[in-house]
Symmetry: C2
Subunit: 568 residues, 2 copies
């Protein structure tokens, strides 16, 4: 058998290695148009920031090592220009010599990846404007930073890579500004979670221009001007475009393979394209999202690598292994915070018109009585009917990745908030609590679904009629004194239960505490006394984050004085 | 309704708080024979070690705060001496006054916990011999340590609490020796995993006496002698017994409630005892283990707290919520290591005669190219027929808790090694790899089950006939030179593939590398060349750990020079 693979990074290299392990006698040729194969794509920002110091570390395999270990021929600087599915040949251009030749295949695997979006803005092709996708881009950026002694950078696009670059360049000593069209950074998390990141970026001294767009780039004598839609002009030495990527499906399209509605190469559950002898993996494929059921793209290294293994098995043994799709579990380090998401955000659920409810939970990263516990912010989106977990988001300075894994495992299994309740977390004081925040998220959702409490979101709360509403802060007076919601009255839960009977019956009562737990207990009391009561989702911590800059301070890392009950 | 709860720590306090949230008007009385309710049981070793500095932090709730927040009456120093299920009353002894009285109930919840095992050894009731179960024990130990200026301690029993105490007392400046009857510490993990902990304890200067038993304690002028079965005598100032605990089912038994074969209070899936008006939660209950299906105990805070919530719901609304049992997810910090397990160990599977296979994986805690990656040790036990995940164990200096959570979630769902393959881990370089070690564990198991590789355990390998076996170290010469298995020949995988054809066909070939990956690739080559070949499970790293002290050094924290392929 002769296998030809187009694209030598994550998905392509994985497929190639597995093919060899399955078939010692096959001929395997891997074409890569770039200079390198199997490199650490996700490590590139850290190499620019000198966090990864040795360039050599970026390379998992080289053509030489690939040959030595796997007996695979990797041809770099070799661009596949066309596929003739009928003849089962590809046309290859040797980018060094310019020579073209044909290579036949029995099975072809496409792993062309994605390409960065570069909007046709005036001045975008000027000096000092970069995208970052591969090692060569990285070398160019690093050289520019060092040789031009860059002092200021504007990053356009506040996605995961944009923020990773912001951190790395800032830590390198460069003044960083970020321009983003949306009202928030990091699309996969919802606004109230992103709001925490906004606070953190500002605290680090990063310029953040939200709801702004670049209209032009202008070269000046001492650098560049980035012109924004609002009229604002940012002076900078360098621009990094991280607006997004799109699947590179050009080759597939030209070959007549079916392209999906998202622009990705359409594959079936065996990762097979519309031509049975051509498989495709990685960033370029379209596959139904397991949560929404809708066609989707996933620009992630993990799924690409897992697809490689499945694809190789199917190419060698026939279609036996099914790919189940990616729930887009993604994570990034943003300075001292970790930000992650899996499944669908509320924004996305609304766009897809999928009904959902949401719960925002704050819990300690480990037992509050053990040193070093910090507050985490967790949000879950779930089905209002059966509690199916639709999405999970975490922002925290510690323990975020673990909680995301726990929830991601449940989403992937098609599980529900009831599964979150039952997750048997590994508990010892340095690691968790007797009720982990992920369990708490399940408990809150269960209480909502079973009608034990009605929640109100910060957005709904802001839109409420103040005349008919009584806002009750159930925290202790010391907490109230440090800052509360305007107009709230302070009736502490602990010890003041009797006073709840005297509240006016003709108003809707909105209760809140620091994180939501005492608010819930107060709501239970009031409900059973016959009141119409709503508990503010996420408590004062979330409210303060979304109204930050309007006088409500957020302490990202403190555990409030009165945490969850029965945490051992 | 009137609810009476016996036992005011984890399970009892949880139940009480939930009862109040569900029923504002109920009468709720909680009896606790000790002086404290709702304290941080798992924090006690850290309070003794001064890691938790403020004693106050150990208390999640006090009777006063419980009354103020929940309107629950908690009566401390009040021991329930008897239950009359027919009359629905309990007899209570006020331990301060000695007075006895009756209290009626509509629903009774038992949460009596477990009691430490104290074998009837000569001298065991002498001065300076302690068990550690509650705050009062802790106060006594702490006072003894400080007032007697304890310099040496012998810990009997190397379970989780024994090792937590070893760490805390050692860090406090006390010379620690551990005596354990088994050949390993920490029963829930298998020998090869415990062997890593043995090495670590020795490196820290902790005395470790395995396969030893105490036969007597003798008071001397300057302290105490601990006499061991081997004849060895340990001089010490203090002894801590952490041999184990057993469910405290005395009250339930005397009341005629059904007791299970493990000695725990038998409950149904609604946590109801054989009397429909009596529920039970916590360490004292017997419930089928979800993995084995056999009656089991679980001495864990997490399950106790979760049971409390379920029990309260059933007591108030009738039996609606099912408890699904505990898979015994447990974790402990042991100096610089984290050690955890979920599901069943190989030892336990053998005892229960449940067929299983095992895979040992070593992988980096995060992307090897990002600073700070360390090697983790992971073991999974799984069904040889359908790949059902039966148990998971992790030992690592970083990232262990997260991997345990990922695998624990799969075990709890009744999932398989195929689910491990598909877990969509949150990958960015500081957190994971494009193929997380947990995915790798799934891949290895899949390769075993589909016949792509035959593995041999270190135990089977040691028992092999050396005459008919050829042992091939496929690592690079530099690794081979630093230490290898006696008698092994070095034929590196990379670049020496051709030499494999010249190996003798009449011998069984055992291949190994550092962690198992190159061994697997070599095994694939040899298999396809027609050889009978076995890959050493866990590679040289595991072999070196189990043969440590016999000249094979283990570097716990280094990532070997040639890690997994395609890790981005």
């Amino acid at each position: 058998m002769k296998y030809v693979i187009v694209g030598g990074v994550a998905g392509g290299a994985s497929t190639a290695a597995r093919l060899r392990r399955l078939d010692e006698n096959a001929e395997i040729i891997l074409f890569e148009r770039g200079e390198y194969i199997s490199y650490a794509n996700c490590g590139l920002p850290y190499y620019i920031g000198d966090v990864i110091y040795e360039r050599q570390k970026l390379f998992v395999q080289t053509p030489e090592s690939f040959a030595a270990r796997f007996n695979i021929e990797a041809r770099i600087r070799s661009e596949v220009k066309g596929i003739e599915p009928g003849k089962k040949v590809v046309t290859v251009c040797d980018l060094n010599s310019g020579k073209r030749y044909e290579e036949s295949y029995d099975k072809l695997i496409l792993s062309p990846g994605a390409e960065p979006v570069r909007p046709p803005l005036p001045g975008i092709d000027g000096d000092g404007i970069f995208t970052l996708r591969n090692v060569s881009d990285t070398d160019r950026v690093k050289e520019y930073v060092e040789e031009r002694d860059v002092k200021r950078v504007v990053i356009v696009g506040a996605g995961f890579i944009g923020l990773e670059m912001a951190e790395n360049l800032h830590e390198y000593g460069i003044d960083v500004s970020i321009v983003e069209m949306a009202d928030q950074v990091m699309t996969p998390v919802d606004y109230e979670m992103a709001a925490i990141v906004h606070q953190h970026l500002k605290a680090k001294g990063v310029g953040l221009y939200l709801q702004e767009a670049v209209t032009a780039f202008r070269q000046t004598g001492e650098g560049m001007e980035v012109v924004l839609r609002s009229g604002l002009i940012l002076q900078t030495d360098m621009v990094l475009l991280s607006i997004g990527v799109r699947p590179d499906a050009r080759l597939a399209k030209a070959a007549g393979l079916e392209i999906g509605e998202t622009g990705g190469i359409k594959v079936n559950e065996y990762l097979q394209t519309s031509d049975p002898d051509i498989y495709a993996v990685g960033d370029a494929i379209e596959f139904p999202n397991p949560v929404s059921g809708r066609p989707a793209l996933a620009f992630l290294a993990g799924p690409a690598n897992k697809q490689g293994r499945i694809c190789a098995d199917n190419a060698v043994y026939g279609n036996r292994r099914k790919y189940k799709g990616s729930i887009n579990t993604a994570i990034a380090k943003v300075f001292d915070l970790t930000v992650g998401a899996a499944g669908l955000s509320a924004k996305m659920l609304e766009r897809l018109q999928i009904p959902y409810r949401e719960a925002i939970i704050h819990g300690a990263s480990h037992a509050g009585y053990y040193p070093g516990a910090i507050m985490m912010d967790i949000k879950i989106n779930f089905s209002p009917t059966d509690g199916k977990l639709l999405g999970a988001q975490v922002v925290a300075a510690d323990g975020a990745d673990k909680r995301l894994e726990m929830m991601s495992a449940v989403i992937r299994e098609g599980g529900s908030v009831y599964d979150l309740m039952e997750l048997e977390q590994a508990y010892a004081p340095p690691y968790s609590s007797a009720k982990d925040p992920v369990n708490m998220a399940g408990f809150v959702a269960d209480n909502m679904l079973s009608g034990k409490v009605k929640m109100i979101s910060w957005r709904e709360f802001q839109a409420m009629d103040t005349e008919s509403t009584l806002v009750v802060d159930v925290r202790v007076p010391g907490e109230f004194a440090e800052g509360s919601i305007e107009g709230a009255v302070n009736i502490p839960l602990d010890g003041s239960r009797a006073e709840y009977r005297n509240l006016p019956k003709d108003k809707t009562i909105v209760v809140f505490c620091a994180i939501g737990l005492r608010g819930y207990i107060a709501a239970r009391v009031l409900m059973q006394l016959g009141y119409s009561v709503l508990n503010l989702n996420g408590g004062y911590r979330t409210y303060a984050a979304v109204t930050a800059g309007k006088g409500n301070p957020v302490n990202l890392f403190s555990v409030p004085c009165s945490g969850p009950v029965n945490k051992k």
